[in-house]
């Protein structure tokens, strides 16, 4: 729920100097296929930017361009203040990447994987070992630290992958569908880790197919469809554009819906239902704050609520609506 109540983050002024991720009209084409079509996104230092979209929307391509793995066809992009085309090495010194598929050396132990990356980043033998130890403890990998990564479960491998991407203490962290295929508790744990990193000032770009994830973690969201940004803003802003939130009530008696309906209409709401003798009532609302208003109104007229459910537009609502709108508007 904390994500829902997150205060909206105002978009930073372009060129404020505090932008850690900046893509300006980035396009990437393969022949006639436009994987990215003039995409512009940005993220301030210490914020989380989520790229939302289904498979093939261009999320991973954008991550690849920003992490300097893939050259862009046109446009301009910078990470941590460095241009992706001119200074790829400066960017690589400051980023951590956890891709969709775990990028660990399965022939090495978890510990050796961490030491290897630290050494490649220039750490001495001792510094590398202590950094590895630190991350093994943090990600609760100490018990399997000296086992070959080829024997790790999917969740373990992903955790190791994330640990590996943090070896250099990156300023900008790219997480490409970090929770796909994780069980709910591992997912929750990963979310907490991301929140911890952001509190320390890291900037995070995360791609996901789950609105819930974007909702909980992201300060701003860009919805990608067929290589284009079809919408961007805070989670609340996005939801407001596609559909309304609702409170669904079940009341304690047969005459309650009529009384409740009248009271709610008097308070400025537009409840639906209750006419056909059912005890249910659906109340569209704009902000979560209005849930309290609904309850207060019913309390004032003495109606008891036996069940209350809060409904959000889902990713499907957001995504399908936006994709549909996008298809109707000629580019």
């Amino acid at each position: 729920m904390s994500g829902l109540l997150m205060p909206p983050v105002t978009q930073p002024d372009p060129g404020s100097g505090d932008l850690m991720i900046e893509a300006d009209a980035v396009s990437k084409s393969y022949g006639t296929v436009h994987a990215l079509d003039s995409v512009s996104v940005s993220a301030r230092r210490g914020s989380v930017l989520a790229l939302l979209g289904h498979n093939g929307a261009g999320k991973t391509t954008l991550v690849n361009v920003l992490t300097t793995a893939l050259p862009l066809s046109s446009g301009r992009a910078s990470v941590a203040g460095y241009d992706v085309t001119r200074d790829p090495f400066e960017i690589r010194r400051r980023i951590g990447l956890t891709g969709q598929f775990a990028s660990v050396d399965t022939q090495l132990s978890g510990r050796d994987n961490l030491v290897l990356i630290a050494r490649l980043l220039g750490a001495g033998r001792r510094a590398a070992r202590s950094r590895a130890e630190e991350l093994l403890e943090l990600f609760e990998l100490t018990t399997v630290a000296d086992r070959r990564a080829s024997g790790y479960s999917g969740g373990l491998r992903r955790r190791l992958d994330l640990a590996v991407s943090l070896v250099g203490g990156p300023q900008v962290i790219f997480l490409d569908e970090p929770t796909t295929g994780l069980d709910p508790s591992s997912r929750l744990k990963l979310w907490e880790i991301v929140e911890g990193l952001v509190e320390q000032g890291a900037t995070v770009l995360l791609t996901t197919q789950y609105l819930e994830e974007a909702d909980r973690l992201a300060d701003s969201i860009a919805v990608l469809s067929a290589g284009k940004v079809v919408a961007s803003g805070t989670a609340d802003e996005l939801k407001a554009t596609v559909g309304r939130r609702t409170v669904t009530l079940t009341l304690d008696s047969d005459d309650a819906p009529a009384r409740a309906g009248a009271a709610l209409r008097g308070a400025g709401f537009a409840p639906v239902g209750g006419e056909d003798g059912t005890r249910g009532l659906v109340v569209p609302i704009d902000t979560t704050r209005e849930i309290a208003d609904v309850i207060r109104t019913l309390d004032q007229v003495g109606v008891e609520i036996t069940e209350l459910a809060f409904g959000e537009p889902t990713l499907d609502d957001v995504y399908l609506t936006l994709a549909e709108q996008h298809a109707r508007i000629p580019a």
Partner: protein, 282 residues
């Protein structure tokens, strides 16, 4: 320089130490090669099966050839005072060098496929560092295998080359150089093909016939006309003639210069092609 991040105090944060790190400062190309070479050597040491498995083919060929053909009459151009085992061993070592070279390509393909390359690409690591490391690891593997085969041949089969210790060492060194050159060819093939099967097929359909169409198992002068013609332009003939001349103290050392030149050209072209192929996006 990486700016030091100051973590906000939050005792329960699961990632409180994750960013609290020294600036490791980056590493030189040489350091990167050293670290990546060490990584593969470590993997090799913890799984010596890979090195030993590579020995199966040369050892089997050695046994088969020496057991099957030793009772047959020597062809007219066979060098005097040399047993068939002595004759064929330098060729078996070159064959093994080619197999080891193929392994270098397969190793790179594994790195490309299991995510290691994807990881390295997000780090400030020069793309050539992994290629050079793969080449060096191949050298170590070849050296170990050459040593094992030589010791096995001398102790079990009775290999007794006429050349001195220094010449024998030079012969092994030249074999290593051939392994190095072919290693770059296979690393280049791996960087472009990015799959292990075609590499193995390449070794099977190129190296295997070329070994027979060379001075490896029978002197070139004793081969049928057309095969002798192929053997004359086959680089492996020069390589085998030169290593054999050194080890057995027989004529053929004049082939060392062409062998070295061809090897140098293959190495340079292979390294160039490998880097070009490796730089392509995953």
């Amino acid at each position: 320089m990486t700016t030091q991040l100051t973590p906000a105090p939050r005792p329960h944060a699961p990632a409180t130490v994750a960013l609290k790190t020294p600036d490791f400062g980056g590493s030189s190309f040489v350091a990167q090669v050293r670290v990546l070479t060490g990584r593969s050597l470590r993997a090799m040491a913890t799984d010596p099966g890979i090195v030993l498995f590579g020995l199966i083919q040369p050892v089997v060929i050695l046994f088969v050839l020496t057991q099957v053909f030793s009772k047959m009459g020597m062809p007219p151009h066979f060098p005097d005072g040399v047993s068939y085992l002595d004759f064929v061993l330098p060729a078996v070592l070159v064959d093994n060098a080619a197999q080891s070279a193929m392994q270098s390509g397969v190793g790179l393909v594994e790195d490309l496929r299991n995510g290691v390359v994807a990881r390295l690409r997000s780090l400030p690591v020069h793309p050539g560092a992994l290629l050079v490391a793969r080449s060096l690891v191949g050298l170590v593997r070849s050296a170990v295998q050459i040593l094992v085969i030589m010791v096995l041949a001398m102790t079990v089969l009775g290999y007794s080359p006429n050349g001195g210790v220094a010449e024998l060492a030079l012969s092994a060194g030249l074999t290593l150089f051939i392994s190095f050159a072919l290693g770059w060819a296979f690393i280049a093939a791996g960087a472009w093909l990015r799959r292990a099967e075609p590499l193995q097929n390449l070794a099977l359909i190129v190296i295997f016939p070329l070994m027979f169409a060379s001075s490896a198992y029978v002197p070139v002068a004793d081969l049928p006309g057309w095969l002798a013609a192929v053997a004359h332009v086959n680089p492996l003939t020069y390589a085998i003639d030169a290593t054999r001349a050194l080890a057995l103290d027989v004529p053929g050392l004049d082939h060392a210069i062409p062998a070295l030149l061809i090897g140098a050209v293959i190495s340079a072209a292979g390294a160039f092609a490998a880097l070009a192929g490796f730089r392509r996006p995953l």
